[in-house]
């Protein structure tokens, strides 16, 4: 009887393990893979019949096989522009948010300016910045920074104001300084908002970097420049290979943010899996 029930238990555990295995693999990975595969097949079929509209999948893959260093090098340039620009932009936005949330007058003074900056199309600013700052990295950093500034500022403001008033009361009765409130309460409370913003901002900064490269005509590095040069020569293979690299770059950047979020925000409900 005992051994029997033990056996039942063990087989139940094995079943549970197998079920989890099945759930993890089939339900999680198959639908996106099928969807992705379908798109590749449709793409390939369309490309074979319309060679002057898009290149075939094999031509794109062939690009990476024959000249990997070209794409690798240009990818690093664009990545650097986007990441440095976004980091500066997000840091500046957070600083502004701290100032604005502590000094109401500053919020009233700065918010209209920030909104104007946000509603101005970034594409329109880029050429001017290139003229002002030249063909180096500076205008790219600025454009990538400007494009992330607004979404990160708004999320930071909401995050900094998210602590429960009663927790703030506890800090006040302890006579905590504004710095202690910021460091021990407001910053950790706003982390979920900051990560949500970062997931939007880092891909946005890639857009900024590419737009900046488009505007710097005659520049030779960066995926944006590569696309522009190739497009002017009607070289579809290079154009689409660069687009694929940009897409992969966006995916990896988002992946890094999500991984960091999982690590740092294990306390927050947003990182609990839904089945729990």
């Amino acid at each position: 009887m005992t051994s029997n029930s033990g056996g039942d238990l063990r087989s139940a555990q094995v079943n549970a393990g197998r079920d989890r295995w099945r759930a993890l693999n089939i339900q999680l990975w198959v639908p996106p893979l099928v969807g992705f595969g379908l798109i590749v097949v449709v793409w390939q079929l369309y490309a074979v019949h319309n060679p002057y509209v898009i290149p075939t999948v094999f031509q794109i893959v062939d690009q990476f096989r024959t000249q990997p260093s070209l794409y690798w090098h240009d990818m690093l340039v664009t990545l650097r522009e986007a990441v440095v620009g976004a980091s500066c932009g997000m840091a500046a936005a957070f600083l502004f948010a701290v100032l604005m949330s502590h000094v109401r007058v500053l919020e009233r003074a700065l918010m209209p300016l920030v909104v104007v900056l946000n509603v101005t199309p970034i594409v329109a600013i880029a050429p001017g910045l290139v003229i002002a700052f030249g063909f180096g990295f500076t205008p790219k950093y600025i454009i990538a920074g400007v494009i992330v500034f607004f979404p990160f500022l708004i999320n930071s403001l909401v995050g900094l104001r998210s602590p429960d008033p009663e927790v703030l009361d506890v800090f006040t009765t302890l006579h905590a300084s504004w710095w202690e409130v910021l460091w021990r309460l407001e910053l950790p409370s706003s982390l979920p908002y900051l990560f949500a913003a970062a997931r939007i901002c880092l891909p946005l900064s890639l857009i900024g970097a590419v737009v900046a490269e488009f505007s710097a005509a005659g520049q030779t590095t960066g995926l944006g420049s590569l696309i522009e040069t190739a497009a002017s020569q009607a070289n579809l293979k290079i154009v689409y290979a660069s687009v694929v690299v940009l897409a992969l770059l966006g995916v990896s950047v988002t992946f890094v943010v999500v991984m960091l979020q999982r690590r740092l925000l294990s306390w927050h409900s947003s990182s609990w899996t839904r089945s729990q």
Partner: protein, 285 residues
């Protein structure tokens, strides 16, 4: 019913300090507190001319219907609100001085724990914040882990708040207020969000702690039974405008277990409080 010692009610005189408890001991004294809130074109007198003396080591409960200004009064004593006029002295210090030297322990209505910190780290918070001020009370601070173990939370030291029940979270919040040994504990309906059984257990736990530490406590509740079981003195407040209607001493022996709870003196105090609460219910202004 004959008026026993326990039901002797001192009707609160309008202007003078409640001299029954002004014993010269350096307790907490609240004198002439007024607070008005203005919203758009309406002015509400939240508390009107509050005078109260709390002796060192006393457990004082404020009871009253919602809107009677009891939370406002507590927030003024905690330094979270400033009164329009009047003054609060906490063991001879102003409220802001008392807060600066961490003499005030505040337990809000919700546990208000930091979700990213473990139970132990939450209790450590008051020791980390405003670190260089002289610590509370006699300068002794408890070890957070030892304190939590004495609170019956030894098994959950490294858990996060969201993994605990409501009652346990509230106990952590109380431990956080005890850990830096403040001179006065201010508790704003700390058990109101808990179910009846948990609340009862929490009440017992708090009483045990209070008896072993003899801390001065100002406690807000809207439960008559809770007030009678816990308090040395019960302050009945009435709304619109919020003022002290009666101050009722509770001369019941401690500990007040089930035996006392079912006794006549216990009921006599309950009746006296209910009578006061009803009086103001029947005579709205």
């Amino acid at each position: 019913m004959p008026e026993s010692d326990a039901t002797r009610v001192s009707r609160h005189p309008a202007k003078s300090t409640n001299d029954v408890y002004a014993t010269g001991d350096d307790g907490v004294s609240i004198s002439g507190i007024w607070k008005t809130f203005t919203t758009r074109n309406e002015r509400t007198v939240a508390v009107q001319d509050i005078n109260l003396q709390i002796r060192r080591g006393q457990f004082v409960t404020i009871i009253g219907p919602s809107g009677c200004g009891k939370s406002t009064l507590l927030r003024i004593v905690a330094g979270l609100l400033s009164p329009d006029c009047g003054s609060v002295s906490i063991f001879g210090e102003t409220v802001s001085h008392a807060a600066e030297s961490k003499h005030i322990g505040f337990v809000p209505q919700t546990p208000a724990l930091l979700p990213w910190r473990t139970v132990t780290e939450n209790v450590q918070l008051p020791l980390q914040v405003n670190k260089y001020s002289t610590s509370g009370g006699d300068g002794r601070q408890s070890d957070p882990r030892e304190l939590l173990e004495s609170f019956g939370l030894g098994a959950v030291l490294d858990r996060r708040p969201h993994e605990l029940s409501g009652g346990m979270q509230q106990r952590v919040a109380i431990a956080r207020a005890f850990v830096f040994d403040p001179m006065i504990l201010l508790m704003d309906e700390p058990f109101s969000a808990l179910d009846e059984f948990t609340r009862e257990a929490q009440r017992r736990g708090l009483l045990e702690l209070w008896q072993s530490n003899q801390k001065t406590v100002l406690f807000i509740t809207h439960s008559v039974a809770e007030a009678v079981e816990l308090s040395d003195v019960i302050v009945v407040m009435s709304p619109q405008p919020g003022r002290i209607q009666a101050v009722i001493p509770v001369d019941l022996p401690r500990p007040r277990g089930n035996l006392v709870e079912n006794s006549d003196p216990f009921h006599a105090v309950e009746v006296a409080i209910r009578r006061e609460l009803r009086r103001n219910w029947n005579q709205p202004e």
